[in-house]
Symmetry: C2
Amino acid sequence: MCKECGCGITETSDKKAIEVFEDILKYNQFQAKHNREHFETYKIYAINLMSAPGAGKTTLLEKTLELLKDKYRLGVIEGDLETERDAERIRQKGIPVYQITTGSACHLDASLVHKAMHHLPMDQIDILFVENIGNLVCPANYDLGTHLNVTLLSVPEGEDKPEKYPLIFKSSELIVITKIDLLPYFDFNLDRVKEQIKRINPQAKVMALSSKTGEGFEDWIDFVENKLKEYRQKLV
Amino acid sequence: MCKECGCGITETSDKKAIEVFEDILKYNQFQAKHNREHFETYKIYAINLMSAPGAGKTTLLEKTLELLKDKYRLGVIEGDLETERDAERIRQKGIPVYQITTGSACHLDASLVHKAMHHLPMDQIDILFVENIGNLVCPANYDLGTHLNVTLLSVPEGEDKPEKYPLIFKSSELIVITKIDLLPYFDFNLDRVKEQIKRINPQAKVMALSSKTGEGFEDWIDFVENKLKEYRQKLV
């Protein structure tokens, strides 16, 4: 009961809801493990791209596909609440892509990725990019079975975001600061943000780039290629 | 069972989870109604500000408080996963503010707002601003008991966001396009976005402004003042 107004209102997060949520996460872990087995069967290296809406996931992806497509066989799973827009952008590059539309769900989960996987030519893919729903909160809780979690933070979002949304920055091995061509127009100190991220996740690698000008893009491409190499060595 | 690999994986959104979610929403409705009764008791007009992370909710709020504080008694409830940063920014203006930190929860709900409310001097507030968690998905589902839902869309996020995240644009009476001082640096067509929003929510009012230059800000202030006036007339 509320002490102030005696109204009986309590906080929503009751025991039953927490239990159901824990069940969902447990089931998701089971599914994620299954996805990883699929990936290993086909020797696919899978990357989960996360960020707030409009941080530039699709644009980064387009440029990445362009730079890697002659060297590797690529595939993409797109996640959005509605529309096939992002899948269309990828399809234009001749890359196999499957669009998940979640309706109202705020994140991808391992079962959605599993379903999408079976719509792609699994035996013809070396690197699979999964573009998550634009959301800095919920995707952090759901392991998709991918090998690498990447979170993008764009300059216009502001430098206080890692401390405000720590979970997603903690759950990512790589943080990519995007749209650095816009640095002159924003009060965004790159060094300060990097230090902030290091405090939240000391293990994380942090890089900064612009998909528009190409500045810093080489580091990202090198990172992906090295990760694929390590993965293949482990599989042998 | 999965037809492709025979693995038994099914989609997560099972019956039990949907039932619990419906229960949560039903309980939230009950709480929201209770909040509205509180607001009416104290003649408070309450505004729920929603957007993606970094769309400029706090900056809009700071300027709004500056412009309205000599005319009305104001109050603020801040929502974030972590940190008191936003509350500190508001506190510096001498406005009563309460910071909710949700930990990992991706939205405010009516019970969190109810609790926060009792930490504010309710009998000394005319307009209460509630700054929701930066998230374009989840906050759309939770009525806070406020009188006005406002969604901000910033120019750097890109013009495809209303169609990709329709729910929050449907649940808002006012859409404010922010950071229009950045229009020269982005491929963002204001008219095209307005048409897109009109298709999703024909009743919504759409305005565009810059909290930095002040362009378009008068429309927003007029809108809030007129809404307060209408509310007070209805209460009499």
